[in-house]
């Protein structure tokens, strides 16, 4: 009959009208500045640079390898290598960025820089309340503004950060173990050499010394 469908529809809208007063599944509005939905762990907005330790500039994990600059789809990363090196987390001397700029007016939050970074130096931030009055300079973030401590990374992406830290620690342990083993082997070799030298005076050496097996921690 004519009008039946309209009446059905009106019943439906009435149900929603009433439902919006008592059913939270219907009235899903979150009134933003007062209420906020906590950021999801995987959320991403703009990248930031992770630093270890207190001093942001000293602790930057970035080694200015420029892979992210090359892979960035909209080409919003801008890096100049510094000529002086600084030690990284395992103590190896690495380059550091002299300039590390991200133009967030161009950045499209794709996370590819994070994926391609071999050093876990760049991660995605979840902060989205970034309003500002300067349209040009304000949106060009330099490395001081980009640098954020590892503890911050832990607060926004706890699972991922723990995993990264574990990996880095494992790597560090590996390197340290290797260094230790190397040192031991060296000492051994030196001792052996000394012994050989001493022995050489009596008998020629028979067995070449082998370095001790390096214990590699499971990854």
């Amino acid at each position: 009959m004519l009008g039946e469908g309209i009446i059905k529809g009106m019943a439906e809208t009435a149900r929603n009208f009433l439902g919006s007063y008592h059913d939270a599944a219907r009235l899903t509005t979150v009134e933003f500045p007062e209420d906020k939905i906590p950021a999801k762990e995987s959320a991403r907005n703009f990248p930031f640079l992770v630093h270890d330790g207190e001093d942001a500039m000293q602790g930057l994990r970035c080694v200015a390898c420029q892979i992210c600059e090359k892979e960035c789809p909209p080409k919003c990363i801008f890096i100049i290598k510094d000529t002086n090196k600084k030690p990284d987390y395992v103590g190896k001397l690495q380059f550091q960025p002299k300039v590390f700029d991200i133009d967030v007016s161009v950045c499209m939050s794709c996370q590819i820089c994070v994926e391609v970074c071999p050093f876990d130096a760049i991660k995605m931030d979840t902060d989205f309340e970034l309003g500002g009055s300067d349209r040009f300079g304000g949106l060009l973030l330099n490395k001081r503004r980009l640098a954020k401590p590892n503890s911050y990374y832990h607060t926004i992406h706890p699972t991922e950060a723990a995993e990264v830290d574990g990996r880095l620690a494992a790597e560090k342990a590996k390197v340290e173990a290797k260094a230790k083993a190397d040192a031991e082997a060296k000492a051994k070799a030196a001792a052996a050499a000394a012994a050989a030298k001493a022995a050489a005076q009596t008998t020629p050496p028979v067995v070449a010394s082998t370095p001790a097996a390096v214990v590699t921690p499971a990854k």
């Binding site: 009959m1 309209i6 009106m10 009435a14 929603n16 009208f17 219907r26 009235l27 509005t29 009134e31």
Partner: protein, 409 residues
Amino acid sequence: MIADLLNGIGLLLWRVVSDQPDAKGALLPVLPAVLQPVVSAVLSVAPIIGVFASLFALTTLLERKGLGRIQNRLGPNRVGPFGILQPAADGLKMLTKEDIIPRSADKVVHFLAPVCLAVPTLLAFAVLPYGRNLVPLDLDAGLLFFFAVGASTELSIFMAGWSSRNKYSLLGAMRAIAQMISYEIPLIVSSVTVVMMTGTLSPMHIVEHQAGFIWGFIPHWYVLTPWGFAGFVIFTIASLAESNRSPFDLPEAESELIAGHLTEYSGFKYALFFLAEYLGMFAISGLGVTLFLGGWHAPLPGLEWIPSFVWFFGKLVSMVFLFIWIRGTVPRLRVDQLLNLAWKFLLPLALINLVVAAVWHFTAVWTFPGALVVRWLLGAALIGGPYVLLGSALSGAKKNTLRVYRYAT
């Protein structure tokens, strides 16, 4: 003198609130004779403008809130507590916007159009009875006056559309003309049934005819008779079209014609159109309340102590809420379907409804027990049959049916 004046004002207010006749008579004799006609006019006009302008503000808020709730949103709630000051903010925004007149527009007509729309709309309020003794102008041919004044709004919409020199405006204006003229007819014919039954064109008397209760508790409103119900439905549909409300908002069809005749209007002029449209909606709802919903009569016996205008405005707001509810539910008709609905469905039904009303009138002499029920059923059958037939003819002409779909695996 001052004491007399204050006394007069107090008495006037008391008479309004307590539904006593001749409220103005309480104040006017206090004043000098020269002032009396002027004050009398002001006393009639100022409350109408004041009350309906604030009702307009309230309705825009109610509409936005109601639509919001229907759509599972909160609606405006930022300006003032519960967003109550939102209309003020809207009004301020409208007033401070730049008034743009397109370079190629007909400037005079472009300016006159909103004025020409607002004035007759306000005039229509003159004949509506708001309370038991509260009618600004008790014209004998009040209904005629109402329709005459209401019909003149079409002109201003066409003025707006034509003078804007915008293709969308023109299309919107053409639609508006076709729509409003077409729906004027079912609107009037459905009202004529009431005139037939009451034998008067005065809204005041029509309301008085609906006094009393059947069996002591069913109000004697016309909407509760078969012809009255059919008439009320036709009247409501036609008044939706007359006030350009969804699903008949074709003249300003947002998704097709941007804003139709309003495309080139901004600022205060736009606000005036907006105001006039809502005032038109109130006026026509007010007429609907007067004709079919018993005007200012209370719905149940024993509630008469509540001032009668409360009932009137309560019913008016309910009508408006119905309009909002419909707006939140249905899509828009197409222009040919709109005209088909008017000419092939509403008009024949309204004419048949005249016959039903006549039958109802002449069977009033039946006095056997249960006569009322029999009359009711007879009337319902007389109008319901044509409704079903015309309805299936209208929707079945194109074999519009609910379809069954096949599936491939």
